[in-house]
Amino acid sequence: MMVATVVILARSRNLFAVVVLGGIYSFLMATVLVALDAVDVAMTEAAVGAGVSTVLLLGALHLCKAEEAKPAHRPWLPLAVAVGTGAVLVYGTLGLPAFSDPEAPIHTHVAPRYLNEALKETSVPNVVTAVLASYRGYDTLGETTVVFTAGAGVIALLRRRKKKDKADAEKAAS
């Protein structure tokens, strides 16, 4: 079902259909994450991917035309780059340990300590929260700052445009 969604996504020229299909893809992805027992990530995917970003894209669509422009050049070079990168990434996965292998380095490094000690040290039953907010507090502070910077960047970009429009309008009026 996800493959079908992606194929239609890539072939569709109507941007409205693309946005809606993107939302559907996010919901399917959220179901996959629930199946993988990553409920926290699934929740984020459903709320951000399917909810807020779909609405934001629709808002952006409101500002421009609903049909994608015809490509100006041949797709062969980008296609070759994408296929090449994909092949390298697949080659990279060959070196990874098998899926859910208990002997994998990720399961023998700090994970057992977090799983065994988190409840005792922080009295927080949800280990994801304990790791995010306590053991990896610096990382989460950085993440929050990134989100803040993204918001500030959007404000800077869109607000300047608005003032410029106003100035242009005044120039045209005078």
Binding site: V48, S123, A133, G137, F148, R161
Partner: protein, 144 residues
């Protein structure tokens, strides 16, 4: 769309529950799935729904842009403030153990305020971005 009775009634019914669910995700994040980021996004989604149904002007009266912009910065400041509080009480930056007499209780308190900071910033940023996009279409529409 703004005059559609069904949409208005359903939205009025749904928005309080979405906001309540956001608070649940926020404060229950230590016990079940969820946390600051998810709660912030869900709260922002409730207000985005309000914009979609009742229009940008009505929502701006309830959640003014100035408040949203303050939230943007306030969240990061709350988070960093927890770190500085740890410093002032004699620990390292973002050290929660010193926030309370009991080490474990200090951890709980630190995690709680950190999650509040994340939620405030995330919902502020989501709303601000949405406001900016919606305002552009809105103002253009008025000009045309």
């Amino acid at each position: 769309m703004r005059n559609d009775l069904v949409l208005r009634v359903i939205a009025k019914l749904l928005i309080p529950f979405i906001l309540l669910f956001a608070l649940y995700v926020q404060f229950h994040g230590e016990l079940g799935p969820g946390g600051g980021f998810q709660a912030g996004v869900i709260a922002a989604a409730a207000i985005v729904l309000h914009v979609l149904i009742f229009g940008l002007d009505a929502t701006r009266r309830i959640v003014p842009e100035r408040l949203v912009e303050t939230m943007l910065a306030a969240g990061v400041l709350i988070y960093a403030g927890v770190g500085v509080a740890g410093l002032l009480l004699g620990g390292n930056f973002l050290d929660y153990f010193v926030l309370s007499g009991d080490r474990v209780y200090g951890q709980l308190r630190g995690i709680f305020w950190v999650e509040v900071g994340v939620a405030v910033t995330v919902s502020g940023v989501m709303l601000k971005i949405f406001y900016m996009f919606a305002a552009r279409g809105h103002d253009d529409g008025e000009d045309a």
